[in-house]
Symmetry: C2
DNA sequence: TTCCTTGCAAATACTTTGCAGACTG
DNA sequence: CAGTCTGCAAAGTATTTGCAAGGAA
């Protein structure tokens, strides 16, 4: 179902649905935290899926180009994470600085801030990053 | 003056005020945009200050440890930037995705969000990243 | 059969570490 | 003079690129 939607997006841009793309998609679909490229790679290894780290990077970038995956820069993490956007509302995250657990924050102050920023700076506001760190209930 | 304040912070942690630390501080003090390590390095080269890129990294990290410099991850930039905190209110930034110009945003929705996040997630909220991109007046 | 996609090797970008000599206090 | 700091070399981590072989439509 998700695979069908995405297959159409791929076809529309002259791309193909492949074994490795299916594997990455399926993993993102069943995972409830945003994953880094190396985590995707490691998990697929564990699932006995033959794939190269380079292919993981290329795949998430294709999915990002199609607008189906969001690339996240969590607070001072030094690597990107990826999650499916399909069917989900725009949101942000908080990551536990002890155990690394990431929880979705179903909120975004952007609408209220955009007008203010545009008035004050005369910029046209585009995209934004908003990510928190803290201590999760188990690590406090 | 700033140098004196920081000199005390250094001494208090068994550190020393050196030629290179003075140079980095002085550059951060007179620059009005947050700088990356390689920008600090390049500017000091231009100013005829002999310094190694490694020393720049070590210096900004020392200043960060002392709480005198903030390390910023701008939206999808892939490198860190540094700016003096001394005497400045906490704030965020917007960067022009065409020319790279960075403008301060003297606002932060954190106070309003913290309570909400803590109630909903049971996390204790620590630090956060909030950075915008957009088009500056000249690049629209 | 076309030409997109993959794996492997290598390159690139950013940042950190090891060590011996230089400098601060 | 003791101990910190620096430069240089090298290593580490995240990500991208080139190219020939493999695979989807």
């Amino acid at each position: 179902m998700l695979e069908k939607i995405i297959s159409q997006g791929l076809k529309a841009t002259g791309r193909r649905m492949t074994r490795t793309r299916k594997a990455v998609l399926s993993l993102l679909e069943r995972t409830h935290e945003p994953l880094s490229a190396s985590e995707i790679f490691a998990q697929l290894q564990e699932d006995q899926v033959a794939i190269d780290l380079v292919t993981v990077y290329r795949t998430v970038n294709v999915l990002k180009d199609l607008g189906l995956v969001a690339q996240l820069d969590l607070h001072h993490e030094g690597q990107s994470r990826y999650e499916l956007k399909e069917g989900r509302k725009h949101h942000h995250h908080i990551r536990c600085q002890v155990c690394g657990k990431i929880v979705d924050l179903l909120l975004c102050p952007l609408k209220k801030l955009t007008k203010l920023i545009e008035e004050r700076t005369k910029f046209v506001v585009g995209d934004h990053t908003l990510e928190f760190t803290g201590f999760c209930p188990q690590c406090q």
